[in-house]
Each structure stands twice: as structure tokens, then as C-alpha cells.
Amino acid sequence: MVTRVLIGEFGAIFRAGLADLLAEAGCDILPDDHALGGVLEQVVDSQPDVVLLDLDNPGAEEVSRALSKMFPAVTVIACSSAALQMRIYPPFHGGESYLSQLSPDRLVQASAGT
């Protein structure tokens, strides 16, 4: 089954890199539809398997935890392009998370589960 990924608000260039990397790994990148409003509305509408958020945005960890609790089946990954780290909220873990180094391989592994 193809992994469906929703990419939240990031810097445009880093976002393009994430989309390119995950598309190459076989993921389906869902269109970023700002008309729907915030990331919550987009998750409700597009029902992704994975949501990527920018860990460098203020409040990103709270949003990630909340999303992970509200949508237990979704993997939430908050990536920091500044610190090259990511906080992963695995599915069905009630908002628990762990920190990992952000590298292309690790991100693909965490997203596509390969």
C-alpha cells in the first residue's frame, strides 16, 4: 500500500526537498491545500498515513502531540531543518514520541516504514 504523506508548513525549499525525497521513496505526497485552513483541517480532509510538521515552528511539539492523540493511526514527524533532528510520534502510542537525527534515510524509514 502506498504511504500517503501530508507535508505541513515548511520553508519552500526544504519542503520541496522533503517532497522530492519521499516521492522518490514511493510515497504519495498529498497536495497542500491552504484553502482548507490549518493542518488539522487538512488531516481530516485528506486522511494521510504520515504528517510532517516543522519542529522549528513555535508550538510544533504541542500540535504534533495533539495530532498524534486525535488521529492514533497517523505517524506524526516533526522535522527541524535548523538542528537536523526529528521528533517522531509513532501511531497508537498516545502522543508519545522520541527524538532522532534527521537524515534522508531515517526520514524515509520513519515515513514509509521500509
Binding site: 520553508g11 525549499i13 520541496a16 526537498g17 522530492d20 525525497l21 531543518s81 534522508p104
Partner: protein, 185 residues
Amino acid sequence: MMGPIRVAVFEGDEIFRRGVVSCLDEDPVLEVVVQGAAYDEGSIDAPSAFDVAVVSAAALEARLPACPLVACVNDNVLAWAPTGGRNVYAILSRRTLAAEQLVSAVRAAAVGLRTMDSQALTSDLDHRSLQVLRMLADGAAVREISSSLGWSERTIKAVIAGIQREFQARTRTQAVVEALRRQLI
């Protein structure tokens, strides 16, 4: 412009590098011919293998090709990235840079034009702070600045305190020097 503009991308963050390459590839005139974490003279056949290089701030510290460079840097160094005497034609914010801006900056650099990020021009200082800084640099006292700009001395002092906070400067002189160094005035 005759033929494609050949672009090299030297960037340590692989995800950001992919983003740069995919944005540049969208443009019909640009062709990414070399990419990697850093510039390695040995691995490149001829110095004229590319027309423009897009590089990171870390790459700016290292040995670089002689062609026009477009640098993508973090916001904290946006205003003072080292450009003096170097062939850096644009300094852009990694965080806020849009694909069209990157493409425009690379195309401009290829024909010898420099591009300035408007954020780098103003830093976090507003127009009023810059006016005050310019007058301080000219040797004006608070009272003179006050009467010239038509604001109270109290306001001028508050503006100066704000500038010193922004620059983490202990004295007014240090703030003026910092503004000059960042080419804000």
C-alpha cells in the same frame, strides 16, 4: 541568453539540496550539472564546468569556485554573511526563500547582477531605527536627533536602547559600528 545556464549546488543538508535542485530543474533555462555536499575541485573536470553555484553558509567558509555564487543562509547570519571581496551575488534566507526567488537569483547571477534579500536589507530594525542610527553615525547628540526628527528625547533614547538590544551592543558607538559592519547604514 545563449544555451542553458549550468548550475552547481554545494549544500551539506541533503534534504535542502534536493529542494534546491528540484526548484532549479523546474526552470527551462537552468540545468543542474553538479551537486554535492561540498565543492571538491578534484572531482570537477574544468573550472568552467558551471556558470553559477548555489552554496550553503558553511560552504562560504570553504574554498569555492570562481564563478558567481548564490548563498542560502540561516536568518541569524543573513545580514552579515561574508561577502567582502568574494564572488557572492546573492544572500538568501533558507527559511523564507521561495522557489521563484531562488530561480530569479540564479538567473540574475549568471548575467552578473547581484540580488539582495529585502529582509537582509532591513534586518529587524525599522525605518525609524535606521534614521536614528544614521544620525548617530554622523555624530549627532540625542537632543539634535530629537529636534531634527521631531520626536521627544525620551523616544529617541528608547529607540537607541532597542537598537542596542537588537545588536547586543553595550554602547551607542558599538551599535553604530555594528550597523556599519552589517551595511545597514
